[in-house]
């Protein structure tokens, strides 16, 4: 494109386009969104790859994430340190996986990470209970919560270990054609 921008070098933009599902214009737009979260912290010039990370509290304040019940887990899953501090690369990564062009397998991997609260690579009953409470504003009684989670594990657990491994989860996703369109954040 003709307009010159000084935020990224051309090689950087090409690398972004190669590794994510975004076009050049979208990447620049993402950068401006990242910048407006903290104008004093985020440099406008990324050509020398500054090491700048924004804390969790700023990122979950974005309008796209503000009302999402899983916003904290989403940001934590994409951050390198597991605490939710995102550099710009991780920021782009996050929205790339959540965009509509990402394939089902990639989304399933990250969805599993998001629901896995205690990060043990299994969705055990506590993970499901936390998920359910986030989804229903904690208005179900504890017995109901337990019933629903037990039923969920019973339905999806294939290998009988009373928790959902990634394979169980993936199998369930493959039978849910809506997943691609629901696990999608527009930016």
């Amino acid at each position: 494109m003709g307009n010159k921008q000084t935020i990224f070098t051309d090689e950087q933009l090409d690398a972004y386009q190669d590794c994510t599902f975004f076009t050049r214009k979208e990447i620049l737009r993402l950068h401006s969104r990242y910048h407006e979260l903290a104008p004093h912290l985020v440099p406008m010039d990324y050509t020398n790859e500054p090491d700048c990370k924004l804390p969790l509290a700023l990122i979950v304040d974005m309008p796209e994430l503000k009302e999402n019940p899983f916003r904290n887990r989403i940001v934590e899953s994409f951050s390198e340190d597991g605490m939710g501090n995102l550099s710009f690369n991780e920021f782009v990564d996050m929205f790339s996986v959540l965009s509509e062009m990402a394939p089902r397998e990639l989304k399933a991997i990250y969805a599993f990470k998001i629901y896995d609260y205690n990060v043990d690579n299994y969705l055990c009953k506590e993970d499901l209970e936390k998920t359910l409470n986030k989804l229903t504003k904690e208005e179900l009684t504890p017995e109901e919560v337990e019933l629903v989670c037990e039923k969920a594990i019973e339905e999806a657990d294939l290998d009988g270990d009373n928790k959902l491994s990634y394979t169980d989860f993936e199998n369930m996703i493959s039978r849910a054609p809506d997943f691609l369109s629901t696990f999608h954040i527009r930016i």
Binding site: K25, L106, T136, E144, L147, V148, L180
Partner: protein, 647 residues
């Protein structure tokens, strides 16, 4: 560290080299796709990718084409507030609009422009001038413009090239219809492939818990509403489990009686509407023949479209009423039943109208194709007016009633099924009308364009997000299927029947004087036969297109293929059952081995406390093995378990 647990680490150099070697072996586009799909962070992917000039060019093209996309911002807004099922309606509307734009360009370019350029446009009769009424009735002044079939000539224009208007008209319309059909088939097949579910997963808890939340909703009220709905749904399904008693025989009988009664009523209503439309057409005919008095005969022609649209608006309300009395076992069946009845109504009305046009109109008028074109034009315009009114009454008034007068009803929901059916019906009218009125897509483009903005405004002001979530993808498949099978196929068969069996009118239009439209091809083949270089075309025509043996063989081959694929599917289903059993067995093996390992460890602990001095080797060994085993579990999610062979 927490680091390695979260990522499929490509940190050791040999793994990265292997990955690169693997990627180098693929083509460039495959490389890019594989790189994007790696569940690795961007930092690590950067090292693997390279870029070159060609890809840069490809990216710039992609970004240009993306910026040209129509209505992208509005769709994002609607999707964010109302969810994907409502968005499906707008996506379908945009898709149909593109169909019409393509049709208009093709028709205008290949049929109308040559006519206008060669200056053979018909003379307008001196005593006919443009009055405002033409916009509604399509007759009068419009009859003499290039709007309708009748104004097109049947000559061959000599100029730079010999442009045969007959062939141009025939091929433009038929190629467009065939292309539409192919696009519909492919999108239906791809949608079916993506959305076909092996089991009805939507009603179970695991799905509701993990897959049903729509991440794209950003509006606070919508989010709260969804949470409420989910809570209610979960409570319902929990209580349903408690209530799953058998119905007594008398209750079952009553249930079946209600089903039978409502189906009878709805079919009767549909058939009755069809019959009344037929008698109305005949009545209008008689009135036209007998009355020559001061009443405006042209305004009378609006009677049939008015009644048809009125029926299409009012009768579905009755169907919804019946639906409320019936209790179907699942919500999906309820929606399908309602949809089927609405489709039946519209098909029967359209069918009756087409029968009337094909059978009685050619006998009554000398120049009958423009008459059918005008009738379709009137239907399209009046349908548009009623769609606008329907939006007003359906959504605006319901909102007013729901909030101010009768708060118990609440704010209305956007009825996706009904609205989708309306635009499918509108598009069918355009498809039927293309043969008779090549510029009808212009009206359709305007109609859909205005409808989009109207519905968007009505949606944002009057409606609330849908209460039940999910099912959007399967509904989309159903809608495309509906678009294709009854409606497009019906339109195509009407046009094909017209071209095949009906005699074109003798004094107007591009096919005047021929026995039927298809004989255009016959004459063309005769011309082509005269040139020796194109004999293969003639051979193909005579031995492939006109021979029955060919079609018989093709049908036979297709049937055999279908049978083979069906058997494949059955075999695969059995394989799936077997594999599921195997997974369960492997899980049991895994837990058994884990227990054994723990026992081993405990026994080695016990033997150690007896003989302390024997060193920590055995403890290290077994705990090291356990650590290794759990590291294996963590880094390869889903691939755990000792490799037991197939049972």
């Amino acid at each position: 560290m927490a680091l390695s647990k979260n990522r499929l680490v490509v940190s050791c150099p040999t793994e990265e080299q292997n990955l690169i070697k693997e990627l180098v072996a693929l083509s460039t586009t495959e490389q890019i796709r594989k790189i994007r799909e790696l569940p690795v962070s961007f930092e690590e992917k950067k090292h693997v990718s390279r870029s070159n000039l060609i890809r840069r060019f490809g990216y710039s093209i992609k970004s240009v084409s993306q910026s040209l996309q129509l209505w992208r911002g509005i769709m994002k807004e609607i999707g964010g507030k109302f969810g994907s099922s409502v968005l499906n309606y707008f996506v379908l509307l945009k898709w149909l609009l593109l169909f019409n734009i393509f049709s208009f360009l093709v028709n205008f370019g290949f049929i109308t422009i040559p006519l206008l350029v060669s200056d053979l446009s018909p003379n307008v009769s001196p005593n006919v001038s443009f009055r405002g009424l033409e916009l509604l009735t399509g007759a009068g002044y419009f009859n003499y413009t290039v709007m309708y079939y009748g104004s097109y000539s049947n000559e061959t224009f000599r100029g730079l090239v010999d442009y045969d208007m007959q062939l141009a008209y025939f091929f433009t319309i038929s190629v467009y219809m065939v292309l539409c059909g192919l696009v519909l088939i492919f999108s239906m097949a791809s949608s079916f492939k993506k959305n076909y579910a092996l089991a009805d997963a939507a009603s179970n808890s695991a799905w509701q818990l993990l897959c049903s939340w729509d991440f794209s909703i950003t509006n606070e009220k919508a989010v709260n509403q969804r949470k409420n709905n989910l809570r209610i749904q979960l409570k319902e399904s929990l209580s349903e489990k408690a209530h799953r008693e058998r119905q007594t025989t008398s209750e079952q009988l009553k249930q079946y009686g209600i089903y039978f009664g409502s189906w009878l009523l709805s079919t009767g209503l549909a058939v009755g509407c069809g019959a009344s439309v037929f008698y109305l057409c005949q009545y209008e005919d008689e009135v036209r023949k007998s009355t020559y008095c001061c009443r405006n005969p042209e305004a009378e022609t609006l009677l049939v479209p008015f009644v048809v649209s009125l029926m299409n608006m009012v009768i579905p309300l009755f169907f919804s009423l019946f639906n409320k009395f019936e209790q179907y076992s699942s919500q999906r069946k309820q929606i399908y039943a309602l949809l089927f009845r609405n489709v039946l109504l519209r098909i029967s009305i359209l069918g009756v109208l087409c029968y009337y046009w094909m059978n009685t109109v050619p006998q009554k008028f000398t120049c009958w194709e423009p008459m059918v074109g005008q009738a379709l034009y009137r239907l399209v315009i009046v349908d548009f007016i009623f769609l606008m009114l329907g939006s007003l009454f359906g959504e605006f008034l319901s909102n007013v009633i729901g909030t101010k007068i009768q708060p118990r009803l609440g704010v209305p929901e956007f009825d996706v099924a009904r609205n989708v059916l309306e635009i499918i019906y509108a598009q069918t009218l355009a498809w039927i009308g293309i043969y008779f009125s090549p510029l009808l897509p212009v009206i359709q483009i305007l109609k859909f364009f205005i409808l989009f903005y109207l519905k968007k405004v009505s949606l944002t002001h009057n409606c609330q997000p849908p209460r039940r979530s999910g099912r959007a993808a399967q509904m989309k498949t159903i809608f495309i299927f509906l678009l294709f099978i009854p409606f497009f196929a019906g339109a195509l068969s009407i046009v094909a029947y017209t071209a095949w069996s009906l005699t074109p009118s003798e004094h107007c239009g591009p096919f005047r004087g021929l026995n039927n439209t298809f004989s255009v091809i016959g004459e063309w083949i005769d011309d082509v036969n005269k040139l020796s270089s194109t004999q293969w075309v003639v051979w193909i025509y005579q031995n492939v297109i006109r021979s029955e043996i060919f079609y018989f063989l093709i049908t036979l081959i297709i049937l055999v293929l279908i049978y083979i694929f069906w058997q494949l599917i059955q075999g695969r289903k059995e394989l799936i059952v077997l594999l599921r059993k195997q997974i369960v067995n492997e899980g049991k093996d895994k837990s058994f081995l884990l227990e054994k390992l723990v026992k081993c460890n405990d026994s080695s602990h016990a033997s150690q406390t007896e003989s302390r001095g024997r060193g920590k080797e055995s403890e290290d060994l077994s705990s090291g093995a356990k650590r290794g085993f759990s590291r294996l579990q963590r880094s390869h999610p889903g691939h755990v378990g000792p490799a037991t062979g197939p049972e």
